[in-house]
Symmetry: C2
Subunit: 480 residues, 2 copies
């Protein structure tokens, strides 16, 4: 691998391109522990942005952050049978403290339902305590045996997990949809990634849930990526952990619960969808740096004047709330800097050289299209603002086109297999609703049902696998 610059084309070797972009843009690094990663400065800044956006949304609607221990006694995990079966194969176990073997081994949380709900039963006593709406930002461990991939699948990752308890089923349902709506907003309007939303099939739902809703995006290589989930847990956990409340009717009731989460994999999705052969392309709304200013000369009187002007522009833009880097390092050439900041995906570059200075202008370059245009000094702030919005919109529009291109309506199984090999993507097909057909398709093609849309489309064909009467039209895909 060359030290700087991406050497692989995105459409030639997508997987290798991805790794190069992640490493060379310094978003992440391999950790000295197998299957783990280091989230570096710029990627963490994006995660902090997501953190901030979601926090402000959920706090405004009465959710509060907490922190529960990451150790879960084995007995707790075991309480909900489906949950235990779903998670134990990938649990990391702590068996020793100092020199002493533990009496009961402890799971490092693969998710926190069981440790939290054991306590909910203590906190919730009356209808006055409901709804209880808490959220936690933390690290999660799932001891993957599959090949790991930076951001998308690592043994440790960061996430947010919302957990709520309600007096009625209706309230729980509304909460599931609430989380889904906020997630969709973050993915589409901040990360600029369009998503399909819907319900997971029985075999794909969260272990222990009544049902799982999900947001799914398509990657340029035709594989789907689950972007987030929001589960209706019904009363499954409430019954197992005894989470009851005395209602206004003075009777005992079990609560209705939800849980929902998004993870650092969103950063991986963003890289995949938007990046190009030069490296990262960051949506302005989550970019840690909005504008980089590169002076074109280094020495002499003119250089000083250029630096003064660049500094002025930088301060002006900063005062408008933008993050600006004025790259005045002398040890690098302008060309080297252009490549470096393009690799890092900064949305707007401002170049200022001797001729620009004379003409009272700068050159502005869009990262998404590469378009260059001279901008009069007085117009810089308003132009930057407009460009950032245009870039954000353009990136979303491009990603939407990708989603459309990678979505194919399928009438029969031969076409299904043919399309899958030709371009992958979402295969929209009729399904009879049987787990057997779903399992057969998975076995034969590697495709799973990504979502069953909320708005049911009346299928005109029979089930894509068995030909029997179809129940609904669903989206299949291979996935990360």
């Amino acid at each position: 691998m060359s030290d700087t610059g991406v050497t692989v084309k995105k459409n030639q070797d997508f997987s290798q391109w991805y790794v190069e972009v992640v490493l060379k843009a310094s978003l992440a690094d391999y950790a000295p522990v197998k299957g783990c990663m280091i989230i570096r400065e710029d990627a963490y800044a994006i995660w902090e942005k997501i953190h901030e956006i979601l926090n402000s949304k959920i706090k405004a609607t009465g959710h509060r952050n907490v922190y529960f221990p990451m150790f879960i006694p084995e007995a707790f995990l075991k309480k909900e049978a489906e949950h235990f079966e779903g998670f134990t194969p990938e649990v990391a176990w702590i068996t020793q403290g100092g020199d002493t073997p533990l009496e009961e081994k402890l799971a490092v949380r693969p998710t926190s339902e069981t440790i939290m709900y054991a306590t909910f039963s203590k906190w919730i006593r009356s209808w006055r305590d409901l709804p209880m709406k808490i959220n936690q930002w933390c690290n999660i461990v799932r001891w993957e045996t599959k090949a790991t991939k930076l951001f998308l699948r690592t043994r440790e990752f960061l996430w947010q997990e919302g957990h709520t308890a309600h007096a009625t089923s209706e309230e729980a349902e509304a909460e599931v949809m609430y989380a889904l709506k906020e997630y969709k907003d973050i993915m589409e309007n901040y990360l600029a990634i369009p998503v399909l939303v819907g319900v997971k099939s029985e075999s794909e739902k969260f272990a222990g849930a009544l049902y799982t809703t999900a947001l799914e995006a398509i990657m340029p290589d035709g594989k789907a990526l689950q972007m987030g989930t929001s589960h209706n847990l019904g009363q499954h956990f409430a019954k197992v952990f005894g989470i009851k409340f005395v209602g206004e009717d003075k009777q005992d009731h079990y609560v209705w619960q939800t849980s929902w989460g998004i993870t650092t994999r969103l950063i991986g999705a963003m890289i995949m969808v938007h990046g190009d052969d030069k490296g990262l392309v960051l949506p302005p709304k989550v970019a840690p740096i909005h504008v980089v200013i590169v002076p074109i000369m280094f020495k002499g009187v003119e250089a000083e004047a250029i630096n003064t002007k660049a500094n002025e522009i930088s301060e002006k833009l900063k005062s408008n709330g933008l993050n600006v880097v004025f790259d005045c390092r002398q040890e690098y050439t302008p060309g080297w800097k252009f490549n470096q900041w393009e690799l890092k995906g900064v949305p707007v570059r401002i170049e200022i050289g001797p001729r620009d200075l004379k003409q009272g202008q700068v050159v502005m370059v869009r990262r998404d299209t590469g378009q260059k245009s001279p901008v009069k000094e007085v117009d810089i702030p308003i132009t930057v603002e407009r460009l950032l919005q245009e870039i954000q919109d353009n990136m979303f529009a491009k990603a939407k086109t990708l989603l459309q291109d990678k979505t194919t309506a399928i009438n029969n199984y031969d076409e299904f297999k043919k399309m899958l090999e030709e371009k992958g993507g979402f295969l929209k097909a009729a399904w009879c609703g049987s787990t057997a057909c779903e399992a057969k398709i998975k076995e034969e093609t590697g495709c799973t049902i990504r979502v069953c849309p909320f708005q049911k489309e009346e299928p005109t064909d029979g089930c894509v696998y068995c030909g029997q009467k179809a129940k609904e039209t669903v989206y299949f895909a291979r996935s990360y």
Copy 2:
């Protein structure tokens, strides 16, 4: 324990009082895992505040957040011998992933020097890469065998760890002092807790450091609490992990490093120092809620008018950036609410009843002093603002008095032991500098040297233990 209200007096049974306040004010709860705790909503909100304050400080000075894996291979921990010896007795070990025993057991990070610095050696190549200043917010595990205590000593806690690498020893020294200065600001000007700062003795320093600086506070029971530390790591780790850079002189050099951290135990200190027999007293600058408004009547036409007015006041204060709760719950009496919000330590309470409404005023009550005063409606915003500042200042002044009262200059060992039994606190005494005397004092009294002040005071007496010529005057105390 009664369900509401603190039943133990702070000066009668401090330890029990502390536990009651923490649990009843819902700051934390015991976890179903031994030695662990749940950080609840209000306490987590305070942690978020600390997070926000420190983040804005360190980002402004070029530090950036990252996330490293929490797993540390045993071999890494072992590399720095002192470090390994210091930490292994309290490491939680992961030995199994799913059903499979791990080839090499993994430590859950007790601190991240080793995992980070193994990677620093890859990232740092040239003087251009320096200084490297990163920080991480995460959970930490130390498998305590001593009795645990909510916030102060638990097997898992949250912290922030700054890690920096510099080209020169001078820069590293400046960084150590920088972190110390920002910590002091947070502790004194936000948490309203005065601290002593200085250097730790050799036997109390961080395992692997060149030297450790620390901030120490005194608790009302006379025990000291270490509030934060900032370590100069010298080149110890750099040599072990091979962190070298090519200088401007084209020669290879080892970097100079620092690390520094504060933890969720700060919340415990804040509770201990400021709380009273009614419960929590929160410094306004970190309080999750600044003002609670309690209406005095519930039914009838007047109630409606009162609620309207209360809402108006609430909105006005919120628009000034304050967090306000208008407690209009009908299922509780005003008296119950007063107790509840006092327990939770909200700095200012506003009461509004029918007579107040008629007179165009409210009653304002300070949490710290209990002082009540009528305030004309028009004066509410400015009065609240003034009160919050007064409360903040008063709390710090009171805590300063506590520190003074609990600090005693000692001339000889008999006096030392007598004072220790009588009132504990910081015992300021001359010390010859020998580790043997320090160890003897610890063995005989349980006291350790908390800090050796930066500004050396010329000792007039001989060493408090051996009577030999003293090197400096230091602060001893029993501690948490």
